[in-house]
Symmetry: C2
Subunit: 226 residues, 2 copies
């Protein structure tokens, strides 16, 4: 188990978040660091998915995790058990992270010895979609119990993500969730998004997500002028 500290991050003072995000992305590119921004509702399974994914990738990639939450350190404790480098970010009531806050987190984490950094954003389908964190790619989780109508209600989140993990497919039989209808609704909003059905609990689909992530990290490092 790795050790971690809790960082109280401050609201950003930058007015132009998009500019700040582009600058951070450029800096990460220069440093060969890939940053994944992972978003979802509360309780969709972000931390369990990360744990399983890290365990598959940790022999090949040096991984760091930033756990953002309003309060508590339960997620950082869980991630630390994988041996990944981890920091808990407390957002001081803020419902999302922007690029400035992400930068504070990266500085707190320390990134010299890493290939891949994953930001577990605050559990929220609304606000995090509106703020570019400076990430290389955006991922989101929608879990089966939340319902297949979520793309209709929170379209922006589905539009800005590169990959959608449909989690908790092991309980599909006990919920009214039409996975084909859900995919159709998502692809209508974002035809380029990759959709991977998973069960973080059973591990189903996690190798496919890990492979996607590994390829993205390699592409990021291999194409300095992307």
């Amino acid at each position: 188990m790795s050790e971690f500290r809790i960082l109280e991050i401050k609201q950003s003072i930058f007015e132009n978040n998009n500019k700040q995000a582009d600058q951070l992305r450029e800096q990460l590119k220069k440093e060969d660091l890939f940053l994944l921004n992972l978003m979802s509702s509360p309780g969709s399974g972000k931390t369990t998915t990360l744990t399983k994914t890290i365990n598959l990738l940790k022999s090949e990639l040096r991984i760091g995790v930033m756990e953002a939450d309003i309060d508590s350190d339960v997620d950082a404790v869980t991630i630390a058990k994988t041996g990944a480098k981890v920091i808990q970010l407390h957002t001081g009531g803020m419902c999302h992270l922007d690029a400035g806050m992400t930068k504070q987190g990266l500085e707190g984490l320390g990134t010299n010895d890493l290939d891949l950094i994953i930001l577990e954003n605050v559990g929220n389908l609304v606000c995090p979609a509106e703020f570019d964190t400076g990430s290389s790619k955006n991922a989101m989780i929608l879990s089966v119990p939340e319902g297949d109508d979520k793309p209709l209600k929170y379209p922006l989140m589905f539009q800005i993500c590169d990959v959608l993990l449909i989690n908790k497919i092991d309980v599909l039989s006990v919920f009214d969730f039409d996975i084909e209808l859900c995919k159709e609704r998502v692809l209508k909003l974002n035809p380029k998004i990759k959709i991977i059905p998973i069960s973080a609990r059973t591990g189903e689909g996690i190798p496919e997500f890990a492979q996607w992530l590994k390829t993205e990290v390699q592409n990021w490092k291999g194409n300095p002028h992307e």
Copy 2:
């Protein structure tokens, strides 16, 4: 089925939301109108819970519903089938409602012929907790698949609510959710909160919630100087 319209609400211009909320609450009190603010994560079952509750109460109370969402009208369509008066509020990307926005919603709905109005807030455990809507009482839903650690991560929401519905108890057996531990965590944050386990799908617990709501409406009307 009742008819409904969609109202695009504007961001409030009032700086002091708390004052605006107190004024709205006072106005509702004078007009014998009870306003319940219902909050939860996306997909916790707010609309299904409301449908079942309205069906139990509609012979005794004249009920109106304001459905707040970033986009879509799927919830208003569902509620309209109960026969309740309903309006869909589009928040223009806003992640919560404040008192000024709630007032716009009430004016759009029309409240002359109502006893009880329910505001289904935007699906979000963070921002809605920070803005008093002017409601008579606050209710929240936490569903079993979200996990029993949510009170640790989103404490403010649990602190400001008068009643907590723990929904989807029909699937308790397929999730790692310790209901006693969850109650303990919630009561530590808010010793006065009433906790009712329910299944909106099977109807279990809905009569208890409907009774709680009926009593609160009666108390509100019966105590003009409360």
